[in-house]
């Protein structure tokens, strides 16, 4: 479904942050993206959510070469991708509810459907009480949950999350990982960038490891996956 071939990325005239990155993601796969701070995880994510173009190489997504997309096609592809940004990027002038509803409004869903879905999801992530609050009046963990809710509300085909559990306590962190697992079961392709070794160990998904601009793929532990199969 997604294929990166000989991808290179540099910012301006700076050094190459990513060089000759090659990988492909099958539909319905679940990957962790790891690597030391500054390795380029967020940069790779931005290529995945079509936020910037690579300086070289070819990205194929949903069967199309992303280099040749019209603005309309680009918008349509982006609507299939849900993103949890490392810095959340919530809109602070609108309520938690409206933030989560935004992707549905952009996609032109009707307001009744939006009300139902958004309320349900906010209750589920434990923010039912806070839905009228502005994001900047909420805690970091609460904001993170809004960001996650916003990313998954459209049931995207590709879900990208950059350190999605960084500000969360273990219980809520597990709850959200649980949500990601469920979405993945329903067919969503997922990539989660994280430093959290414990989390990666306990889920056994394959890893994309970035180091010094190079990417290597580590197989997950199938044994562990089998054991977990019953849990989720």
């Amino acid at each position: 479904m997604i294929k990166f071939e000989h991808i290179g990325l540099r910012y301006g005239i700076g050094p190459e942050i990513l060089s000759d990155v090659n990988f492909s993601l099958d539909p319905g796969s679940f990957h962790f993206l790891s690597g030391p701070s500054g390795a380029g995880k967020t940069s790779l994510m931005s290529l995945l959510y079509l936020g910037r173009r690579p300086t070289r190489g070819l990205i194929t997504m949903f069967g199309q070469n992303t280099g040749g997309l019209t603005r309309e096609q680009l918008a349509a592809q982006r609507q299939r991708i849900g993103v949890v940004f490392q810095d959340f990027r919530l809109l602070n002038h609108m309520s938690a509810f409206d933030n989560v509803a935004l992707p549905l409004r952009i996609a032109g869903k009707n307001e009744k459907e939006i009300q139902g879905n958004v309320n349900e999801l906010l209750d589920w992530v434990g923010l039912g009480e806070a839905k009228r609050s502005l994001p900047n009046t909420l805690s970091g963990g609460e904001q993170q949950r809004i960001a996650i809710a916003r990313a998954v509300i459209t049931r995207p085909r590709l879900l990208l999350a950059d350190e999605p559990t960084g500000n969360l306590d273990d219980e809520i962190g597990m709850r959200l990982m649980n949500l990601f697992e469920q979405l993945n079961k329903m067919g969503t392709t997922i990539v989660i960038a994280t430093h959290n070794q414990a989390m990666m160990d306990s889920f056994g998904h394959p890893r994309l490891v970035l180091d010094k601009g190079r990417l290597s793929v580590e197989e997950g532990s199938t044994e562990l996956r089998k054991k977990l199969q019953g849990v989720f």
Binding site: Y49, G51, R71, A75, L91, H93, M94, L102, I106, A107
Partner: protein
């Protein structure tokens, strides 16, 4: 959302602000844009009205003068001696007969002395005694041409000179053409000013929209990343600028209207007889009433065009 709230919201009076994906209502430029459009509307309405009134006025002047000529019989002979009133009257009578007999002339009327006195009163005072031959009154014949007739003025003048070499034929043409050229230039200036104001409005609205977009660059990028089309984003700016522009234009046109009423009543008080009433025809009044809508449309169109242009430069 109830109909009432909807209406109040579109007028910007509702308590709860309309939901925008961008914090357009919060950014400081809104008040500036509203004020700017209000001021531009005042200027537009004044300049446009000036143009309308001038064009109406010149039209009526021309129509009033074009089919008319005046024959003047001076109250003096060619040596500068004052002629007695009876002589002037006799000469006038003769000239009138010649004029009335002319095939291109519909009517020729000797103006009664009272009327002439009235006309010269502003210059010479009310009580001129003609008997004391202090001020000799000339004879005037007002001539109305047949509709569509093209009289040969030179031949006609020659005919009149047989009565007295002092007789003058005034076709008003030189006066008219001077006045028409003058008012024509004023009219052009008024319309040109209107156009300049509208262009200034467009430039200012585009600038305001651009600065708003620069302020909200991050939010715009986010909307794009969520798959928003440029037209989706443009619609928000359109709605925003539509509301601001309409409020501004309505306020501006209201104030402009008051200024017009004041100045028209002032012109009325001055009783300037050469200025026909301060008047406009119904289509012109209609046009002025549509001005707020037109200005709003202009603002919306400018906003859309600007937003789409700026967005196209973004990833």
């Amino acid at each position: 959302m109830s109909k009432k709230v909807k209406k109040e919201k579109s007028l910007g009076t509702a308590q709860k602000k309309r939901r925008y994906d961008l914090p357009l209502n919060e950014s400081s430029g809104s008040g500036f844009l509203r004020l700017l459009i209000a001021l531009m509307s005042i200027l537009t309405i004044l300049a446009l009205t000036t143009g309308f009134v001038l064009s109406d006025m010149t039209g009526r002047w021309a129509a009033g003068v074009q089919n008319h000529m005046t024959v003047e019989i001076p109250a003096e002979d060619k040596n500068g001696n004052v002629l007695p009133g009876e002589n002037v009257r006799a000469l006038s009578q003769k000239a009138q007969e010649i004029a009335a007999a002319h095939e291109d002339i519909e009517s020729a009327e000797i103006l009664p002395e009272e009327k002439i006195k009235e006309m010269v009163a502003p210059w010479l005072g009310e009580d001129i005694s003609t008997s004391g031959n202090a001020v000799p009154l000339p004879g005037l014949i007002s001539i109305k041409l047949k509709a569509g007739a093209e009289i040969n003025t030179e031949a006609f003048q020659k005919q009149l000179k047989t009565v007295s070499p002092m007789i003058r034929l005034d076709t008003h043409e030189s006066w008219l053409s001077t006045v028409l050229r003058f008012t024509g230039a004023l009219k052009f200036a008024a319309y040109f000013i209107t156009l300049t104001i509208l262009i200034t409005t467009i430039v200012a609205v585009a600038g305001a929209i651009r600065s708003k977009m620069a302020i909200h660059k991050d939010e715009l990028e986010l909307l794009h990343l969520m798959g928003a089309l440029d037209s989706y984003i443009a619609r928000q700016f359109q709605r925003h600028s539509m509301i601001l522009a309409f409020q501004g234009a309505a306020i501006g046109c209201f104030i402009g209207g008051i200024i017009l009423l004041l100045s028209s009543s002032m012109a009325g008080h001055m009783e300037i007889s050469i200025v026909p009433e301060f008047q406009m025809n119904p289509p012109q009044i209609g046009l002025l009433c549509l001005l707020p809508f037109f200005i709003s449309l202009l603002a919306v169109g400018t906003a859309r065009h600007t937003v789409l242009r700026v967005l196209r430069e973004m990833p």
